[in-house]
Symmetry: C2
Subunit: 394 residues, 2 copies
């Protein structure tokens, strides 16, 4: 029995640095500056996809009286998603395995709350996505951090193995990775699968692999994305359509239980009750009707890759120590001065916004989002150049 | 310290009777019968409002690059809602008091999870809405049931007072009431306010009044709805636009903290973190853009009232013991036979669907939804007549 009181205080504390920066940091103070080049967040910097607007308008026209009635995990979207997953992973997902959620956020939250109990431990990898710790706390579980080593930030099965205890209930893996841009490869994923199988056997209950694949369609250089679900049975795959549509304000995604997941029927029921408790957290009717269109929509991945291929060498030429992402929207780079918050501030004053690494547990680094427009890249590179010179000259 | 483990099992258990009936009861087996008259749930039985379709199509057209970006508690919708609340209640709500949620469901969930801690008690009134108990359990709190007496189902401040303990953290009141159709009046609400003030003083911490006002614009006979928030400081008002639009699949509503709410700043932060944890549970961008239109949209309340005024006397003439609702979509009636599930089944075989009272903790009763079409009322009354005769003849 573990004390679960002050759950909300721990949740608030876990995101305090994020919201302090969003509310008062360089981004909030400079985002509306004229001519600013905004590389801070994975938000759109250009008008939405016409195909998205068209799909929303088309599916707003009701075909029957139930068009906007209460929607659940509806059979149509579940079938479209199971079919897409089968094609992409080779795993025989069925419609009943798919829980429809308000983006990846909803999928992560319901998975953690449905499958973890108070006192369970959940391993996450650092640098992490902003909200893993908060969502683990929301389940009453205990976050356990495993640090990945720069500059490669490779998946580290041994470090994960060392963090597992008899109380470990889940491990969250995010590939392609935000913020590092890494896509984990077969040998590391296979090793992780073995670690989890052995630990599950030792613990006498399965450790769940939560595979956050929000960016699995944003990959560069023709690399084949391999789902971690292919290497471990008890996997819940999390996805959102908000990255390929670049419309995170229209929320639809899913949590898909592998067909090999233990106690599938009971766990499906547990997930459903948390979908309901999260505020009838099924995607809105309009988005469920539009699912086949959303499956086919995507921002221009080639344009993102071209932006990467322009920025990485240009920044390196200026003296920045920059990683080359394999996927996602993000480039990680070392801050030229140890205080990345101060660097981000200085850069903002020169006309470009980035996410200071401190916000994603990576002090001394910063993150660049490739969702900026090409014109922002033009102006942004000038700002990076000016600040690099200042740094070098100090 | 209270054991919070098995939270999910308690949540599942609390809705088991609801889902068993939804999955296998008279409704699921007969809802697609040709010519069925469906009075079972508050779902639409006619095509959506043209004004809703128009608003969705119009606001799907982006006006800027941020149109479908991450949406939060956005200033525009907050201002529209605060203004509407000020006009309707006379209470000086400010935009910052409004948390935008995915319907009333989201508002109830985030309020309970943000403001209750493990081991707190939350009082709810029975007959209740289907999911109060589950949402209280989702917060790790303990549901405490207070039964209201038929046939009036009046608010009972003394019974609530008797249920309050030093651990009571909140009381949920739903007016206009689903399923009873009652609107609570000033003397009872004032008495409830006094009970909560005294108990809060005794407990040394405020008891929160959660005022679920989902149906506060669905009132009949020109009755003035009085918000419970007018009679008690520490009130959170919950609302959804899904009733007046009759589009519960397009989810937007709010939780509004009274300006007199204690520790407003801290509690706002607690609510926000649970909005995020519920799956970035802010309403979708499109609905936030459409809020001014949604404020002005409504199904025809006069038509609902006319349906009530047709069904109540007709059912009474057949010998049914029927309440006359003051608001909401619902009529409560006594089952002619003690087993309301068996009655609902028999009625379904004659062509009409109702909600058995057992599903809302009211065995021996059933609920009729006025969202049925007029044509369903024609056919439905025949079914009620046939079954009443059979009952009388047995």
């Amino acid at each position: 029995m573990v004390d679960a009181s002050n759950r909300t205080e721990r949740m608030v504390a876990s995101v305090d640095h994020v919201f302090s920066w969003l509310d008062n940091g360089s981004w909030s103070r400079h985002r509306f500056d004229p001519g600013i080049a905004d590389f801070a967040l994975g938000n759109p910097q250009e008008l939405p996809l016409p195909g998205l607007v068209d799909a929303l308008q088309r599916h707003a026209v009701p075909k029957d009286k139930d068009w906007f009635a209460y929607k659940f995990n509806e059979p149509g979207p579940r079938a479209v998603i199971a079919d897409s997953l089968r094609r992409r992973t080779g795993i025989s997902f069925e419609p009943g395995d798919i829980a429809l959620t308000a983006g990846a956020f909803g999928g992560l939250g319901v998975t953690l709350r449905a499958l973890c109990d108070v006192g369970d431990e959940v391993v996450f990898l650092s640098p992490p996505w902003f909200f893993y710790e908060m969502l683990i706390e929301s389940a009453g579980a205990t976050p356990v951090r495993v640090r990945l080593s720069p500059p490669d930030f490779d998946l580290d099965p041994d470090a994960i193995a060392a963090a597992i205890t008899p109380r470990t209930r889940a491990v969250i893996v995010n590939s392609p990775n935000n913020p590092t841009g890494r896509i984990y490869r077969e040998p590391e994923l296979a090793a992780l699968g073995r670690v989890l199988e052995q630990a599950s056997a030792r613990n006498g209950r399965p450790i769940i692999l939560i595979s956050d694949e929000s960016y699995n369609r944003i990959v560069f250089d023709g690399i084949e994305f391999k789902s971690p679900a292919r290497f471990y049975d008890a996997t819940m795959t999390i996805y959102t359509y908000g990255k390929t549509t670049l419309a995170p304000g229209q929320r639809i995604g899913f949590a898909a239980m592998s067909p090999t997941f233990p106690d599938r029927r009971e766990n499906e029921q547990r997930v459903t009750v948390h979908q309901i408790a999260s505020g009838w957290g099924f995607p809105n009717a309009l988005l469920q009707h539009a699912i086949s269109d959303l499956e086919g929509l995507s921002i221009d991945i080639g344009a993102l890759q071209a932006r990467r291929d322009r920025m990485v060498p240009a920044l390196r030429e200026m003296g920045y120590d920059v990683t080359k992402p394999e996927g996602t929207f993000y480039i990680m780079a070392r801050s030229p001065e140890p205080d990345d918050l101060a660097f981000a501030e200085r850069l903002a004053e020169h006309g470009a916004l980035v996410l200071p690494g401190t916000i994603v547990e990576s002090p001394g680094w910063f993150r660049i989002s490739l969702t900026a427009s090409d014109e922002m890249v033009d102006r942004g590179l000038e700002a990076f150049r000016a600040v690099a010179r200042v740094g070098a000259g100090d």
